[in-house]
């Protein structure tokens, strides 16, 4: 899976979980401050990302995933490592 495919899938997950429109999702968007994610949304988002990319995300790694770009980069690196 290349980075564009990862980016597209991440955007879909964010749309499904946070119920935000595609056009408001930017690489620099902060999940909480810009996209309105509450704490339960963050938990759900991580579950949805794990389901979509078939990879578990540790609590330590999850704490670093604060923007859309940080998620895309994290998953891209995991994909390359595999």
């Amino acid at each position: 899976m290349n980075k564009d495919e990862i980016k597209s899938k991440v955007n879909t997950v964010i749309q499904d979980v946070l119920r935000v429109k595609s056009e408001v999702i930017k690489p620099e968007s902060r999940l909480k401050e810009d996209l309105g994610a509450e704490s339960l949304d963050m938990v759900t988002l991580l579950m949805a990302l794990e389901d979509t990319f078939k990879n578990s995300i540790s609590d330590e790694d999850a704490a670093e995933l604060t923007t859309v770009e940080s998620i895309v980069s994290y998953i891209s690196h995991r994909a390359e490592a595999n």
Partner: protein
């Protein structure tokens, strides 16, 4: 006192989802019976080896979001699907109020005069088993995975079946009141929100409780029913009932193994699960919105055996009293009842006791069938599914056969063919582990 009517029904069962699909299958005497999954057999050598699985359900067809599916147990998802179907059947218009939270508004329904009443036997047991499997086996899986000597072990079925995650929503998924809560939140119904945990009588008691609340004028509108999901990756729930010697066994043919009220019965057919939801309204409320009325509920009663937690009182004395009080509450005589949808599990003791009471009180005057002869036993959902069948039988003036009852245990009128029956008054009854007995009395709706 208000009259209480049924204006919508929504079934999700192993033989059909939605009233048209379900009723058509029921009248054709259809069942879905399969061998239990091979993976279950790798954990234990069971006495029983068949069950009735649910079809694959796409919950997004029932206004259930992907987020809902991650945060709710299957028993709740089944009930939400049944609620969606029941509201459609009742022709209640819904509008999406909050897209993020998937909250809907029901037109012509006053939130504060409405309630949710759901029965379940075991609540979110599937989630409990999955989370505990993850909790206990994941450390072992990791340890074995790092050790080449045990690679075959780490590839075994048990580890393949370990859920990859301990669901962070598990507390709110496991609790039995999760389902009534989820329905109340989704449709913003604030009047009463009640969960009935009475094993196999849960659905009947939930509907009975809703009936009483509307009858007494506490609320005007209710979503009432039952749900159960008993699937798990390891067959542990199946084992519990198998070990209790309650399941169908020693049969010649898979299609004829499940035979309530037959002399050759051996136990009940384990169902993976199911749900049914009924829309109940005061007659005034239903008429004011121009609803189509399926049938009327005229009475509800319950008794308790105080005998044994896992066995009916074989004397049937509390079932006799159940019927006596039920009929007395509306001044109906036994000869005015045309049809009884029986508990009819197919266990030796239940069918012996239940048929004895029916013979004693009604003789051969009433038609008797067991919906469990078609779909197996759905525990907390069964009473709701059977209440729905009773209402539909009144509406359509016919009912389904009691399948595989070729040699009835007693001289009672087991339904053996689909024919026109002038049903004006009918009873649906349930008996539960614990000792709970409950019955609903229905009647044809007449102006």
């Amino acid at each position: 006192m208000n009259r209480v009517v049924i204006t919508g029904v929504g079934p999700v069962t192993s033989i059909g989802c939605g009233v048209d699909s379900f009723w058509s299958a029921a009248l054709q005497g259809k069942s879905n019976i399969q061998p239990i999954p091979d993976s279950w057999k790798s954990f234990h050598n069971f006495t029983s080896n068949i069950y009735s699985p649910l079809p694959v359900i796409d919950y997004t067809n029932f206004t259930i979001s992907k987020v809902d599916q991650m945060q709710l147990d299957s028993s709740t998802l089944l009930a939400l699907a049944a609620t969606d179907l029941a509201l459609q059947n009742a022709q209640i218009e819904r509008t999406l109020e909050n897209e993020k939270k998937n909250i809907w508004h029901l037109q012509n329904v006053d939130s504060y005069r409405s309630g949710v009443f759901i029965g379940t036997g075991i609540g979110g047991i599937s989630t409990l088993i999955n989370t505990q499997a993850n909790h206990t086996l994941t450390p072992l899986k990791i340890r074995l995975g790092k050790n080449d000597l045990t690679k075959s072990e780490s590839d075994s079925v048990v580890f393949q079946k370990v859920p990859g995650r301990f669901n962070p929503f598990s507390v709110a998924m496991i609790m039995p009141n999760a389902t009534s809560s989820a329905i109340g939140i989704k449709y913003n119904l604030k009047g009463v929100n009640s969960t009935s945990c009475y094993a196999c009588a849960a659905g009947t008691i939930a509907i009975g409780t809703a009936f009483q609340q509307i009858k007494n004028g506490v609320i005007d509108f209710a979503i009432a029913g039952g749900t159960e999901y008993l699937g798990d990756p390891f067959g542990g729930v199946f084992r519990a009932f198998d070990l209790a010697k309650t399941l169908v066994s020693n049969f010649e043919c898979i299609e004829t193994a499940n035979r309530p009220f037959d002399k050759k019965r051996s136990g009940f057919l384990f169902s993976e699960g199911g749900a049914a939801v009924l829309v109940l309204e005061s007659l005034e409320h239903a008429l004011s919105r121009g609803a189509t009325i399926i049938a009327e509920i005229s009475a509800f009663h319950e008794t308790f055996d105080a005998y044994n937690c896992m066995s009916l009182d074989p004397s049937g004395s509390e079932i006799v009293r159940l019927h006596t009080e039920l009929l007395k509450s509306t001044a109906i005589n036994p000869h005015e009842i045309q049809y009884i949808n029986a508990h009819g599990t197919g266990t030796i003791l239940n069918d012996e006791t239940e048929s004895s009471v029916i013979e004693k009180l009604y003789g051969k005057r009433v038609y008797v069938n067991s919906t469990k002869s078609l779909i197996g036993h759905t525990l907390g959902a069964s009473g709701a599914i059977e209440a729905m069948v009773t209402a539909l039988s009144i509406k359509h003036k016919t009912t389904h056969i009691s399948k595989n009852c070729s040699d009835p245990v007693r001289n009672i009128a087991i339904v053996d063919k689909v024919e026109s029956i002038d049903i004006q008054h009918a009873i649906s009854q349930s008996f539960a582990f614990g000792g709970h007995n409950a019955a609903l009395l229905f009647k044809e709706y007449l102006d």
